[in-house]
């Protein structure tokens, strides 16, 4: 009887999971895959084939937007790692206990503020009549107000800002687990600061680095607001193309094709990243902090 009860509860718990994953994740993904393979040949007439994909690769604008999005996302990921690592190390290893908790909380606060508010804050700061420009004119450093929005540098700064917390949080939790004795041993054995960093700290922090990079990259590549609001009309971000095809031009076949390509492409980058570092998705992203 106990076994039957166990089976029953397994079924009861498994059903919601299956419904969720099946109806909200798997079938919709198959759905866009299906639509992307459908070519419109007339009113309500469709043919199956890879025509939409051929169109995509035949059109340099689309291709370049995808490549541009990918390169900028990789750049953002690298910058977030370089800027974020010292901060995470400081919080995890150098700050005193009470300050550590405060700093960590401060890191989390912007995390809870909407992307929209953060992008809006940058607009208020950086536009031609914005705070930075006005202050610089007032200080006599520049003679005329400058427009600091709508260029790639601003987009990168804004994206790093949006994603860096997702880099710092996993790094802090991995680094906190590191025993200081490891470092002392490294120094005692004659390692220089750089050697200790390269041979002890980095390998130890690897799961955190990989987790941070994956989340950061996916967030950057999938972001919509920051590139559009800070980059303006010419930001040519790939998610914007998807939106345009779907909502503005109502061309769902092309939009679905773009969606599939973005998903395949980002998954590929993540997969290569995991392979190169010898990590798995579950040990990195799902690690409980």
């Amino acid at each position: 009887m106990g076994r039957d009860a166990g089976r029953l509860s397994l079924i009861l718990l498994f059903t919601p999971f299956a419904l969720w994953i099946g109806l909200l994740i798997v079938l919709p993904q198959l759905g866009i895959g299906y639509v992307s393979l459908r070519e419109k040949v007339g009113v309500n007439q469709y043919e199956f084939g890879f025509g939409n994909y051929a169109d995509f690769f035949g059109e340099p604008i689309y291709r370049n937007t995808l490549l541009r999005t990918a390169w900028m996302s990789i750049l953002v990921t690298i910058l977030a790692l370089i800027i974020g690592f010292p901060i995470a190390y400081y919080i995890a290893k150098l700050a005193r206990a009470r300050i550590r908790a405060a700093l960590f909380l401060m890191c989390l606060i912007p995390l809870w503020v909407s992307d929209l508010v953060r992008a809006y804050g940058w607009i208020v700061l950086l536009r031609e009549t914005g705070v930075v420009s006005t202050v610089l004119v007032g200080a006599g450093l520049i003679t005329e107000p400058v427009e600091m929005l709508y260029n790639d540098v601003t987009v990168v700064i804004g994206l790093v800002y949006t994603v860096i917390l997702f880099m710092i949080v996993p790094l802090v939790s991995t680094l906190q687990g590191m025993d200081d004795a490891l470092l002392e041993a490294g120094y005692n054995l004659g390692g220089s600061r750089f050697t200790v960093f390269r041979r002890i700290v980095v390998p130890y922090a690897m799961p955190g680095i990989v987790a941070g990079c994956i989340i950061t990259f996916m967030l950057a590549a999938g972001s919509y607001l920051t590139p559009i609001l800070l980059g303006g009309k010419n930001s040519s971000w790939f998610t914007e193309q998807i939106y345009n095809q779907f909502i503005t031009r109502y061309n769902w076949e092309a939009g679905a094709t773009f969606g599939v390509l973005l998903l395949v492409f980002t998954s590929l980058v993540v997969w290569v990243g995991l392979r190169l570092t010898g990590q798995s998705l579950v040990t990195t992203v799902a690690r409980k902090d």
């Binding site: 079938l27 401060m106 909407s114 953060r118 989340i215």
Partner: protein, 283 residues
């Protein structure tokens, strides 16, 4: 690492600059809600609360702006429903993966985590496409109009639940894993029924995690933009309304006022969730 005095100071300055970078845009978004000017920019023209409370144009305050208020209402409504569903599903998933053994468990666990790494825009369009396919099917075969499968609040709820359930599952599973199963066995041995054990032993232990899962899901839902953008119908939540205003009207201080309200609200909720989690870290 042993760091010498000077270097430590340079390091500290770096950390300080970083935190200034973190708060600068938030301050800029917040401060100009109180500037008595028609534009969110310098010079400072004195303190005012008009952008919150003024009942008339040109400085129509947030609390008299019907569209923004409707946006807040929609966001609250969606947030509560999404958080409830995601927490309920997350609880089921937590029990499933922590307590049960079944075939393909590692593979299915990966499936549970995957929604976190799918870009929000793609979750949005995939659910839009799938729902439309079902709606079209009903339309063409049965002649039924299924309006809730067209863009609107029900689809937004489904879209947000699709990835928030992963987050709530992970939060609740982490707590459930720490639960000492002998407590349940003791209660069972003492004659309590299964449901009673769940209600009086297991759920009280899980409560902090359930609470913070709910709060996190609510906050993320309230702030979500990417997934929502693809699924929005006529009842737009606040983020969409604010974005619309930003693109069509340009930046006005009323948007700063919205930002202040958003920051205060999410700050308080995040604090509540941290406080609820506190005893857990002490154990």
């Amino acid at each position: 690492m042993q760091v010498s005095g000077n270097l430590l100071w340079i390091y500290r300055v770096y950390v300080l600059i970083f935190f200034l970078y973190l708060v600068a845009p938030l301050c800029a978004a917040g401060v100009f809600a109180f500037n008595d000017s028609l534009f969110p920019s310098l010079p400072w023209r004195g303190f005012t609360l008009d952008w919150f409370f003024s009942p008339s144009e040109p400085k129509l305050g947030l609390f008299h702006d019907d569209r923004l208020l409707r946006g807040i209402g929609n966001s609250l409504f969606i947030g509560v429903i999404v958080a409830t569903i995601a927490t309920a599903l997350g609880t089921c998933n937590a029990f499933l993966f922590v307590r049960k053994t079944f075939r393909f468990k590692p593979l299915l666990y990966v499936m549970m985590v995957v929604p976190l790494v799918i870009p929000g825009v793609i979750l949005g369009i995939s659910i839009l496409v799938f729902a439309s396919m079902i709606a079209n099917f009903f339309d063409s075969t049965l002649g039924l109009f299924v309006t809730w499968l067209r863009p609107g609040i029900p689809l937004i709820v489904l879209g947000q639940c699709s990835f928030l359930t992963t987050i709530t599952s992970l939060v609740i599973a982490a707590r459930l894993q720490k639960f000492d199963i002998s407590l349940e066995e003791a209660a069972l041995n003492l004659g309590a029924s299964r449901p009673r054990v769940l209600l009086t032993v297991t759920f009280p232990f899980l409560f902090p995690a359930l609470f913070s899962a709910f709060v996190v899901a609510f906050l993320v839902s309230f702030e979500n933009f990417n997934t929502t953008l693809m699924l929005v119908g006529s009842d737009a939540p606040l983020t969409i309304t604010m974005y619309d205003r930003m693109v069509k009207v340009g930046s006005t201080p009323v948007l700063n006022a919205v930002s202040v309200v958003l920051m205060l609200g999410s700050g308080l909720l995040a604090l509540a969730s941290v406080v609820a989690q506190r005893p857990q870290s002490a154990q």
